[in-house]
Amino acid sequence: MCAEEKAMDRTEDMKKDITKDTDGALKSGNTASEQNENGYWRSFKELYNDPSFSKAVKNEFSPEALKAPDVSKMTALNRRRFLALMGAGAAVAAAGCNNYQDKGVIVPYNQKPEEVTLGLPNYYASTCSGCESACGILVKTREGRPIKIDGNPDHPVNKGKLCAKGQAGIMNMYNPERFRDPMLSKTQINWADADKKVVDALKAATAAGKEIAIVTHKIVSPTAKKLFDEFKLAYPTTKVYSYEVFSDTARKNAWMKSYGKPSMPVLQLDKAKVIVALESDFLSTEHNMLEYTRLFTQNRDVMSGREFNRLYAVEGAATVTGMNADYRIRLRTDAIEEFVMCLVVEFAAKKKLSGFPANLSSNTLDHFRTKYALNETAVKNLVADLDKYQGEAIVYAGDKLPESTHIAVNLLNDILGNTKLYSQEIESVDQMPLSAPEELGSLVSAMNSGNAAVVIHYDTNPVYNLSPEYGYADALRKVPLTVTLTEQVTETSELSQYVLPIHNQLECWGDFKTRTGFYSMQQPIIAPLYNTRQKEAIILNWKEPKEFNENLYKDYLSANWEKSMYPATGTAASFKKFWNSALHDGVVYVNEKPEGTAATFNAEAMASTGKVRASNDYVVLLQSNNNVGDGRFASNGWLQELPNPITKLVWDNYAALSVQSAAELGVNTNDIIDISIGNRRQSFPVFIQPGLADKVIEISLGYCRTAAGIVGTGIGVNANVLIAKSPALSDRIYNDAKVSKGSGTYELISTQEHYPIDSDPLLKDIQFRRGIIREGTVEEFKKNPGFLKHESHLEMDPINKPQPYATTEYTGYKWGMSIDLNKCTGCGACVTACNVENNIPIVGKDGVKANREMMWLRIDRYYYGTPDAPSANFQPMLCQHCDYAPCENVCPVAATTHSTDGLNGMTYNRCVGTRYCSNNCPYKVRRFNYFDWRDRFRDSFQYEEPLDQMANPEVTVRSRGVMEKCTFCLQRIMKERQDAIAENRNVEGSNVTTACQDACPAYAIEFGNVNDKGSTVTKYREHPLGYSVLEEIKVMPNVTYIAKLRNINEELHKKESH
């Protein structure tokens, strides 16, 4: 239609309108003279006083005018149509210019699943199978995706807490490198074929009388135990071998020898007034650290009014436990047994007991003390305390100490009456004892001799884990059929014919029993992501081959429960109800008591102890760690990047040496040393660790996996090769190591610059001089609770007075956090919890090397004392949400601002990345995205499917060039606010917990509304020991700390230097 025609059309329209008007007016039959007194008229309608017109005059805006225009009815170029089309065009154009941060489409549910509401999380109870502790977990899911693993608060052992490995375990499920289909010699096959081949081989082996070996980790599940027993019935030549790299076998065996009981009662650490840890890291890397941390720190609570316990650590290594100890005695590990025997002799003499070695000059404690130049005060206090607190103290030997040392410790505890601290009610339960080294040896010989026809690796990696002296890898090559059930590639799967992919723990059914009195239940949180099967189901299916279905093991499990456990619980409810509530709670309590609790020390056991003597060689300690475990978490970047609590090193293991020993060897940090123990040798980079006993070398196991995917392969040095098949002391202590300086260097990377603690007077005790750490003794606190307030290091005004300048009054709720340094052990669980909650990227070793780690929460470690006998302070450091935040006034674009509830917020969208805020942050807690880390780390590993599904949808995934930092878990605060609005109530500070707070096994972190005077966090803030870091610069932080109290009789070392 050309313009002319349009114009004509419009004229026509107008004409019609006029005609209509005239018609209407005429029809009404009125005359102009009658109706229009004022004489003015706007149209014929008005002139003839048409009622529709007068109505229209009243309602100035006709409904038609307000209606949205109907584009289809419009003429070609009407104004509204033009605008509508322009708008639509702009919208299309805008949609075409997709925001680079947005990927994918969000589609609402067509049919909403029951229980799932978009935007709201669901929680499911289950059990963590990351190690044999089998802690209860509570998994948070969003729209069906598990996004965070926390401890199950109902679980009696871990009580809602979870270690770093457990927390980071979520990444294992989403690991893009999980096997997705069964494989035969690295080619994809289907399950039916695999099953058929394996079952045929199993039958053939049974017929031929050849051995079928199943190699598993410790069996913690009673139903799995039953399954194995039944499997053995089906295939009688089956043998089940189980091993753990880190176990407390020595302790249990020693208990067996000492008291004749295979199961050990549970230690009630909370009842101990004095704890003597012998080469034990019960607060961090040893098993049961969650419970022990809780029980230990319960008596380190300044708010509770309870007496502080006192911790002695006697150790060769420098562990978290040692650094938290009130008195630390540096002693080479192989001399510990002698030390314990000296104590035994000392107390036996004191109590005039017979049957003990005479108190000769050569075995007195004094003699021993002089021989090893032990700290005299510490030893004297130790003896006095053990004497004073008989029955209220415990001597606790570390997992890795030899059996004979554990027996000596049992003896000492027995003499002192400390066995009272062992529970009469609860004892540990073993489904199946671990295989002795001889059994594993016989397996290897069976494999070598051809007697083993089938070897099934039941989620284990013996090729990497076992001592090379077994020759397991070579033997494995001779086995006709090798099957590995595994989630991800391992050294063992590389050597196996059949690699069968198994479910992650979050896709599994199961039950676990570690102690008397309760079971822990496991249920799948998500449907299997891939064509995988639960490992129990695979075995079950082979036991009696039939059509496989996903419910196979679930049915088996519930049948077993219905038959065995359900009746024992004595529940009145139907099994279905019982079962549902068991799965819902994750824990099932049963009424059972250990059999035969009374026990006396078996005098014969004494004969087997007290023989270990220290050598003159180097002692090598093979340590467990918070990061990769026995190597099974090697492909978890979060854990690899979690700094070691003491050394703060990441992405590596190393040989830690004392200052003295390093000088003797002529090596420095990053130099290489060669270690040989018998025929076994390995070279390690050196790290000089203050506080190690001289001639002790501490090395972490679990590193340098050769087949652990792109993240885990080749990280660190393999120390497993130093493990002996039949070690003289224990598989983790070797006192016959020869050490020499090697060639070359290797760069170790830490998150914290290490500087000499003593040599430079400028740096000595700097944490105290700057008011970063405040520390005193329990005695001082008792005498004068406010003693630390009064000695403000700069003699400036106390905190928050006077206000530097007027600012917002926080009249409503205001968020604050308090961290009790008495409870914090430095374990790192909070850091991992924060990483998972807040989608913290992994930056890799090179990223950390460039000082660009992204963790929002870090744990600062400060040494004091001498390089030989240091103590350490641990301080979780995160955004302090200062009232006068120095970051805020320097941001040119107002991307970081303060909220009315006292939060220092980051607006990522607005941030241009000047980094000025970070420069001006006195706490240096801001983190900058120097790259798109998700893209940068290992070929965009973190962007790969399905790892991208792991992200917490409540927390923005930050892009390159943006500053970020702790938000006080803003998403959780907003959730509470939503709930408060929905429920028409006020926001309750106690309803919000931060991720770090949830994770802390020591309950060291409190969070809440500081304007609520009754809240816990306020009590901590106003406690006489409460202080804020760097208070003299008056930025008014909202994170406060409770000063550390050492429970020692003497003045603190730092006092002398003042």
Binding site: Q752, E753, Y755, L762, L763, I766, Q767, R769, R770, I772, L794, A850, N851, R852, E853, R858, D860, R861, Y862, Q875, M877, P886, N889, V890, C891, P892, V893, A894, R910, C911, V912, G913, T914, R915, Y916, S918, N919, N920, P922, Y923, K924, R926, R927, F928, N929, Y930, F931, D932, R936, S959, R960, G961, V962, M963, V1029, L1030, I1033, V1035
Partner: protein, 468 residues
């Protein structure tokens, strides 16, 4: 010895008695002749450097500022060092052209044009760094206070924002000042050139200048006003740049002495750079009689004065650190001089304070090769001053747990090189296309241009040296 007590004459500002024509010829020569081989080599080097910098910058845009050595805790490093360094360089130009003009220091005439041009190029170079140092440079527009429907406004308390205003104002005023000064010279070039294109260009830029009395009257007035406008900028711009640091809470940054200290340092470094370039230019373009040793000596005196002021500031920082009784502040300064970055500190101190003291000696002030070496050292020293302030303060601030060393990468060096490349490329293009000395002004200060009661012949016979 005759003694004439009536008045003293100043030293001649232009050696010899060049006629106006000769001055026109000498100054306009580079713009009228084909570039020499020396010029080609020079621009070859500078544009290569520029290209290297541009490549490094391109890669930085593509991958992120992570290519640089910046880290936690050193959020700023070469980026802001270079920014402050180049802004400082610019200050000499404004001081020479504006402040010395207001103080009627005629000796400025020979060097003013060049110094002004260097100001503009230095500010251009400096201005790049705040733009590229951001993590998301494509959003730099957020730094401008433009009205928007989100009501999102910039943060007026941030010194970085003050920088935006200070630097853009500085650039605008300097540019206008420079251009106004060029107008009479454009007219001279317009009148001299025979090329049609050049003629057209010069005609446009000379804004119809005919040299009439009225033009000169307006010109002088505008020049005076602009000089007045520029003068406070000499003090304000670097004061505001120093606020980037002084307003923060970081020990070593949070110092009230920073504004005067930075301004003195800026003038110091600017004169260093002007001398460096002029010593080359007067040689290459045969302008030794226009940019005389006398002028250079005067500049060296300013270098001596400002260098000593800078030295005073360095010392005063230590004194205040001690006097404040603040142990963290004290640590920062002891760490500066004796910590891991002591080498940088002592490079700074010796180049800026020790070596310029040699200018107390007249022989050294008037010795061109030694002057050249010393001004080069000043350039190095002033770059390191910013390195010391920015890097050493950030590497070890409050919490020892977050201390960390800084290691620059090849991209940092590449961009630093590129900044020199940009500066010298612009300078060389300027030297080839525009008169490097103000032709009209130099005529006013050349011997014989002043009105005199003597006739020309008589005047020629006077030996000025005997007058003193």
């Amino acid at each position: 010895m005759s003694f004439d007590a009536t008045y003293t004459r100043e030293l001649p500002l232009v050696d010899g008695k060049s006629s106006f024509k000769e001055l026109d010829d000498v100054i306009a020569k580079p713009t009228e002749t084909k570039p020499t081989l020396k010029w080609w080599i020079a621009i070859g080097i500078s544009s290569t450097a520029l290209l290297i910098g541009a490549t490094c910058l391109g890669l930085t845009f593509w991958y992120g500022v992570g290519l640089w050595g910046n880290n936690q805790p050193v959020g700023w490093a070469f980026d802001i060092i270079n920014f402050v360094f180049w802004i400082g360089i610019g200050h000499a130009g404004t001081l020479i052209s504006a402040i010395l003009f207001l103080f009627r220091q005629k000796w400025r005439t020979g060097i003013a044009r060049f110094a002004e041009a260097m100001t503009i190029f230095a500010v251009m170079t400096a201005g790049i760094f705040p733009l590229i140092h951001t993590g998301r440079p494509w959003l730099d527009g957020y730094l401008l206070p433009y009205p928007n429907q989100h009501n999102l406004w910039v943060n007026f308390t941030s010194p970085l924002l003050w920088d935006v205003f200070a630097v853009s104002t500085y650039f605008t005023v300097s540019f206008v000042f420079w251009y106004i000064g060029l107008i009479p010279d454009f007219a001279i070039l317009r009148d001299r050139t025979k090329s049609g294109i050049k003629k057209a260009a010069y005609t446009i830029f000379s804004l119809g200048w005919r040299g009439s009395n009225r033009h000169w009257q307006h010109y002088e007035r505008v020049y005076l006003i602009l000089a007045g406008l520029s003068t406070p900028l000499v003090l304000s711009v670097h004061t505001i740049v120093s606020f980037d640091f002084a307003v923060s809470v970081i020990p070593g940054w949070h110092t009230t002495i920073f504004p005067p200290y930075f301004v003195a340092g800026a003038i110091f470094s600017g004169f260093g750079m002007v001398s460096t370039v002029l010593i080359i230019v007067r040689k290459v373009f045969d302008m030794e009689h226009i940019i005389t040793v006398n002028t250079l000596e005067k500049m060296n005196k300013i270098l001596l004065a400002t260098g000593t002021m800078v030295g005073y500031a360095y010392s005063m920082e230590f004194f205040i650190a001690w006097y404040s009784g603040n142990p963290i502040e004290q640590f920062t300064f002891i760490n500066r001089a004796f910590g891991p970055y002591a080498w940088a500190y002592w490079i700074m101190f010796s180049c800026n304070v020790f070596f310029p003291q040699l200018f107390w000696f007249k022989k050294i002030r008037r010795n061109i090769p030694i002057t050249f070496v010393l001004v080069l050292l000043v350039n190095v020293g002033m770059w390191f001053e910013r390195y010391v302030i920015i890097v050493t303060s950030l590497t070890r601030d409050y919490l020892p747990s977050s201390w960390g060393m800084y290691f620059p990468t090849m991209y940092d060096f590449g961009i630093l090189l590129g900044s020199f490349g940009l500066f010298f490329t612009l300078t060389l293009l300027f030297a080839k296309t525009l008169p490097v000395v103000s032709i009209s002004e130099i005529k006013a200060v050349t011997e014989g241009a002043q009105p005199t009661h003597l006739d020309r012949k008589e005047e020629e016979q006077i030996d000025y040296r005997t007058v003193f």
